[in-house]
Symmetry: C2
Subunit: 138 residues, 2 copies
DNA sequence: ATGATATAATTAGCATGCTAATAAATTTGT
DNA sequence: ACAAATTTATTAGCATGCTAATTATATCAT
């Protein structure tokens, strides 16, 4: 069945992308997923952990762990919000900010690999179909 | 850029599929990924752990952990290979075998959700493009 | 036959990611 | 004003998944 093949292909692509990213990001001392969190901060430094968990679509304890790990590696710092004592805001250190370019290089490199041999008009179509699938899931 | 959107959509789809599967599989006392290992055994019971790691494209220690967990839950048993003392073969218990149908129901349900609104001829195209991407990665 | 090499699996340690339960601060309701 | 409810973050515990190092068995070469 076509549908089962699509499921298996999606599983394979997800897993393989993750593996490739893991290998590439290791050179930057990053784990898969951490670059996504940093990406949010590159766009908007000082987000709260709740905002991060909503933006990354994961649970607050996951953010606690990720931020703790990123803080141990010196890529971010946490500061208590002076106006709301419950809130902890996450800020980039210079080291964290400097990861932006190398991470984007990795993204582009991996994207080139993924899309090799797929024509521009096929990419448009692919985007449309993937947009539909993403919307179906949320 | 189209390519960046494709990357972000792929990330979103992967993550969301994983979350959905996690929720659905929890009712069967399974974690995401375990159903893939079981699926290999449904097709060919008694595989070695090395064979499983190659088939699932993950590392041997991961298989050790997964099999240990599945064994604790009574879905598989490990038996030493009588002809090669290094090899440990993994066999389904009746409970593990009985998971086949409910897992396939979950797969089909989730696949319906994913592909809603995508026409048969678009599915063919999608499969071709995904096949290309999967081949690009391996 | 025995020392070296290769293969299969495990252990330790770390990260993402989850749920359930808890702690701390703020807001709401009466 | 103060008790109750809500919000934000953390802790504990478990699973997948990784690498590096280790153990146990089998094979290869001299």
């Amino acid at each position: 069945m076509i549908e089962d093949e699509i499921r298996e292909l999606l599983d394979r692509i997800s897993a393989e992308m993750r593996r490739d990213y893991a290998a590439l990001l290791r050179e930057l001392n990053l784990h898969v997923g951490q670059e996504q969190l940093l990406c949010r901060l590159w766009r908007s430094d000082g987000m709260t952990q709740i905002q991060l968990s909503e933006s990354l679509n994961c649970e607050p304890p996951t953010i606690t762990n990720m931020v703790k790990s990123l803080e141990n590696h010196g890529f971010v710092v946490r500061k208590r919000d002076p106006e709301d004592g419950r809130v902890s805001r996450v800020y980039l250190t210079p080291a964290g900010r400097n990861l932006c370019e190398p991470v984007e290089r990795i993204w582009n490199k991996q994207l080139d690999k993924l899309l090799t041999g797929i024509l521009p008009e096929e990419r448009l179509l692919l985007r449309r179909l993937m947009k539909q699938m993403a919307d179906n899931l949320s």
